[in-house]
Each structure stands twice: as C-alpha cells, then as structure tokens.
C-alpha cells in the first residue's frame, strides 16, 4: 500500500526536467525529457543518438576481418554475442560448418559473458536503487574473476574479438578450464550471498514489486526480448526456441517468471539466468570434444600443441573451419542470424557480394527494441521509480544508438 503522491484533486504546477544526457543514472548518454507533476512522471520522451557511430556503415566500409574487431564494441558488456551473430550470419552465407570444439568454446565463453553482463547489471541496478556503497562491489568481484579468464583466452577483458567467422581465435591456455571449473563451483554460493542481501530485503521488495509492470501483450507488441520478456512470462529464448550452436546438446531450462513482469521479476529472472548459465558452463566443460587443453594434447599424443599436419585428427577438435586472414572473403549471398544475448535477441542481417567487404549490414539490437517500451512503463511512475524501471530494462546505450 502506498501513498498517492498526486491526487487528482490537488493543484500543482508541472515541471519539465531534462534527465540526461549527463545524468548519473542514465547509463551513458540517454536523454529523457520528463514532464513531472510533483514527483509523478506524466510524459516522457527519450532522445537517442548521442552515441551514434554508424556501425552499419562502418561494416560496409571495412573488410570482414576488420569489422569483426569493431563489432564487439557495439554492446560492450556482451561483446561475444555481437561477434557471434555476425560470424553466424557469415557462416550461413558461406555454408561453413563450425568445428564442434569451437562451438563449445563459443558457448562457454558467451555464457561467461552473459554472467558478467548480468553481474554488472546487478551491481549498477542496486546503485540505481540507492545501495551505493556496499553491495555493488560483490558482483564486480566475480565479474573481475571472469574477466581474468577472458583475458587469458581472448587477450582483453571486454573487447574480446574472439569469435571469428568459421570458429574461434585460439585454444584456452593450460589450466584455464580448471580455473573456470573452480569458478563455477563457487559461483552459486556467491549468488546465494547476493540473494541473502537483496532478494528478500524489504526495501528492495518495496522498490521493485509491482513497479514498472510490463504486460505480456505490451512486451510482444514492442518486440521486447531477453530477460524482460521472459520475466513477463513468455518463454522466448532463442537458445531453446530456435536452437543454434550446441545448445540442443546441453540441458538447461528457459527461466520465466509467473505473474506480472515487474522490475522484481526482471531482477529474479536475471539471477536465475546466471545460475542457469553457470550450469551450462559446467556441462559444456564436461562435454567439450577433446576435453580441456591438457587432455586434448594428451589425446593427440603430443606434449606440444595440436599437430598441424596430422591427418588423423578428429575434425571436431579443430578451432577454425575456414582460413582466417586479412583477405577473408565470404561468398555472395545474404544471411540472417540471431543469438540470445543477455539483453535479448541480437540479429544480424548481411548481404555479401563476394568481395572482402560486406555489401550491407543490418543489426537488430535488443537494447533499442527494449528501450522503445520505456515510455509505456514510465508514465505515471514517480521520479524515483524512473531509475528503477529504466535500470531494470538493462539497456546499453551504444547498443541503442549503434
């Protein structure tokens, strides 16, 4: 039960507030023009484009090889997925079959990426809700651990440039899988800790329960994807509904929430997804062809690296299906591929004319589509809930503006 902040029979003046683009809680450079009645938002107008970088146009002016280094900077918190979508689209045109081991590595690293993205969301969301000084550091601690692992494989912590057309860049180094396994063992306990602090906290419940309700129909109408729509009860998850890669071989559930998709449901959905991703990683480590790097070496009978020339090598142990070099060309044709990113469906539509550059790129970015539902949720919400709702949608501004 809450006090009506504005009763219809109380006269007050309207106030227009410009929230952003330089506001601490707009996660970058979104500008919201709010019309407030007291503290109640009566009208909201998001202004986009402060971060527009012409990513599609750049794709048409860069070779395939160059563009894949750029593309994981679009959604910088889940770079794996953008590269993956692009790689899959190109592979579709080229008819490449990616080796099994590469697919597993893609799944492992992208699920790790999903965890890091959700962890960052968790921390910043609690900052949006005002738990500014303590809690947000805990998710970041785990995130750093994962980033250390990313660094060893891909060379950088966020701009991985790891998934390549036809496979992945390199094998994880020695001992990497053990570290990852150790992480997956302790991670569920960490999530328990977050939940002990946050999930049932009365203030948190008050701030999130029944706030920013996103109905199924609205979500469908606006093309919302990802945890936002799953929290509204629609089990839309490309990993299950349109399985790709090796997801059919892995055992996991799509996490949906019952009832109204309020901010708490979106929070809970992400927490559960982290647990599920952790399980997926654990399974993938078990199932990866060739096993860990050490086992692979043993299997091949070498103490050194995989032998290049060995004809007897199981093709599923390879990392690349196609020669990757600066002059990489993709056959003429068009392809579309979508992957399930932490924010929703990333779609990549490419037309190739057979040269080393793509003829046309078109991205479907989940943040942009999710953001479009924001005015629907914000009207009638008090100013403090604007941050709670906006944060719960989890948009990345470069992903919105491209």
């Amino acid at each position: 039960m809450s006090v009506e902040l504005s009763s219809p029979d109380l006269k007050t003046d309207e106030m227009i507030i410009n929230m952003g683009p330089q506001h601490p809680a707009t996660h970058g450079v979104l500008r919201l023009i709010l019309t407030l009645d007291g503290e109640i938002c009566k009208h909201v107008e998001p202004v986009l484009g402060h971060l527009h970088r012409a990513q599609e146009w750049q794709g048409q002016n860069r070779t395939w090889f160059q563009y894949q280094a750029l593309i994981d900077r679009v959604d910088y918190l889940s770079g794996m997925y953008t590269s993956w979508a692009m790689a899959r689209a190109a592979e579709q045109i080229d008819g490449l079959v990616v080796p099994k081991r590469a697919e597993y590595l893609r799944v492992i690293l992208s699920e790790m990426n999903r965890i890091t993205s959700h962890l960052l969301w968790l921390g910043t969301y609690l900052i949006d809700l005002g738990a500014m000084f303590g809690f947000p550091f805990y998710p970041f601690r785990e995130r750093e651990k994962l980033f250390d692992l990313f660094e060893e494989v891909a060379g950088q912590r966020m701009m991985f440039n790891y998934i390549r057309i036809g496979g992945v860049l390199r094998n994880p180094p020695f001992g990497w899988f053990d570290k990852l396994k150790r992480f997956t063992d302790e991670f569920p306990d960490r999530i328990d800790e977050y939940e002990a602090i946050v999930t049932e906290n009365p203030i948190f419940l008050k701030r999130t329960k029944g706030v920013g309700i996103l109905k199924k129909e609205t979500a469908m109408a606006y093309g919302v994807t990802g945890p936002c729509i799953r929290a509204s009860g629609i089990p839309l998850d490309l990993r299950k509904t349109k399985p790709y890669s090796v997801y059919p071989e892995l055992d996991f559930k799509v996490q949906t929430m019952d009832g109204d998709g309020d901010t708490w449901a979106r929070y809970m959905c992400r927490i559960r997804e982290m647990r599920e991703s952790n399980e997926i990683i654990r399974q993938a480590i078990e199932k990866i062809p060739g096993g860990t790097t050490e086992e692979l070496r043993k299997l091949l009978g070498t103490t050194g690296p995989e032998k290049d020339e060995s004809k007897d090598l199981d093709p599923s142990f390879l990392l690349m299906a196609k020669k990757q070099n600066a002059g990489l060309r993709v056959k003429a044709g068009e392809g579309f591929a979508a992957v399930e990113s932490p924010r929703g469906t990333i779609g990549c539509y490419v037309i190739s004319n057979g040269s080393d550059k793509a003829y046309r790129f078109k991205w479907r970015n989940p943040s942009f589509c999710n953001l479009s539902v924001l005015p629907e949720l914000l009207v009638g919400a008090p100013i403090a809930d604007i941050m709670a709702i906006f944060g719960s949608i989890d948009v990345i501004l470069p992903d919105v503006d491209r």
Partner: protein
C-alpha cells in the same frame, strides 16, 4: 494486525540477514591490489601497447616492411615508410609510426604479421600529456633484445630464423637495418610449422587461424 507484526518481524529478519552477510565479508581478504606496487600478472596474449620486436638471439629488427599490418588496421593508425634497398632490391624500413591515440588494441596487426615483429606488449600505462606524444615512432616502438626475448617466451612465439649473413647490414641499428631476408615472407610460415612441435606448448597467437585450418 498480527499479519503486520509478522511482516515486520520477517522484514527485520531479512534486513538482519543482509547485514550479517555484509558483515561476514569483513574477514575476507581484499581483492583490490595496490596497483603501481603490485603490477597485475597479465597473460601473454594480453593486448597492450604495440611494439616491434627484434630477434631475441641476434637483435636484428624483424620488420620486413610487408605493409600487411598497415593494410589490415581498421583504424589506420599504422604508418610505414620504406623504400627499396638499392643493394638487395628488397623493401627496407625507414620509419614506422603507430598512433596509439587512434589504436583500439584489436590485435589484428599482430595476427597478420608474418615475422611476429609487431606484438602487443603487456604494457598498458601509456597516459601522456599530449596527443602527439601518443604517436610512437620507430625508436620508441622497437623493443630491446631482452624485452623481445621475454615476450617471445611469454607469448610462446616461434623463434625467428637468424638472418643469413648479409653484406651491408648494421645489426645494432634497427632503424637502418636492411632486411636481406629475401625469402622471408614465404619462408616464415614454414619455419613456424617446424618450430612449434619442438619447443612450444601452446598455440601461437598469430598462427592459430592458419594452423587450425588444414
């Protein structure tokens, strides 16, 4: 009324649980490091500042002015000046400039380099006062012999073949070092293929695409 009391007690319990969990963290050791004092232990593949390696054994400059890195760079931040050496009729490096203010550390140049000359070092402390000072010239880019050896070992790169004795080369002066390695662009991949099974445990970074291809 009783429901209210029950809810209040439940709320207090949950808050206490949160406080307990936070308090428990007091006894955990800090995860932060005193950065300039303890430098992070970076993996070999870390993509830091770009640099040009020299042959760790002979300290010859490895660049052969093939311009592949300049061509592949998405940001166009590499600028190579070279000319045809009158003696060997091979390209000879005059100046090599990388604008680190423009560079996005994607590492594509290191992947295409046929001689493993341009590498990403583990150095990431490049803050400077002007944009001009972020443009590194050949002198600042070239690593010493020890550093090169360190990175070759750390990145598990194949050792470059020592150059055949050449007439007018000055091995100590990398800027003017003539590159008489006539067959280098062709020969290098083979060299690597030979080298790998013997002394390299992991997949070398720049070669892996080729290696896995077969």
């Amino acid at each position: 009324m009783f429901a209210l009391v029950g809810r209040s007690i439940e709320s207090l319990y949950q808050v206490a649980r949160g406080l307990k969990t936070v308090f428990k963290h007091t006894v955990r050791p800090p995860i932060t490091k005193n950065f300039p004092d303890d430098m992070p232990d970076l993996p070999g593949h870390f993509r830091g500042r770009l640099a040009l390696a020299v042959n760790p054994q002979t300290s010859e400059h490895l660049c052969i002015s093939c311009l592949q890195c300049e061509r592949v760079c998405p940001d166009k931040c590499i600028q190579i000046t070279s000319h045809k050496s009158p003696e060997t009729n091979k390209p000879e490096l005059i100046e090599f400039k990388i604008d680190h203010g423009l560079c996005m550390f994607c590492g594509l140049c290191t992947e295409v380099c046929p001689t493993s000359c341009i590498i990403n070092t583990n150095d990431f402390e490049m803050a400077d006062y002007t944009r001009e000072s972020l443009v590194y010239d050949l002198k600042r880019l070239t690593l010493s012999q020890d550093e090169s050896a360190h990175y070759f070992a750390k990145k598990e790169l194949p050792m470059p073949k020592p150059k055949p004795p050449k007439p007018a080369a000055k091995p100590a002066a990398p800027a003017a070092a003539a590159k008489p390695a006539e067959d280098k662009p062709e020969a290098k991949p083979e060299v690597k293929a030979e080298a790998k099974p013997q002394d390299l445990p992991a997949a070398p970074a720049p070669e892996s695409p080729k290696k896995e291809e077969q």
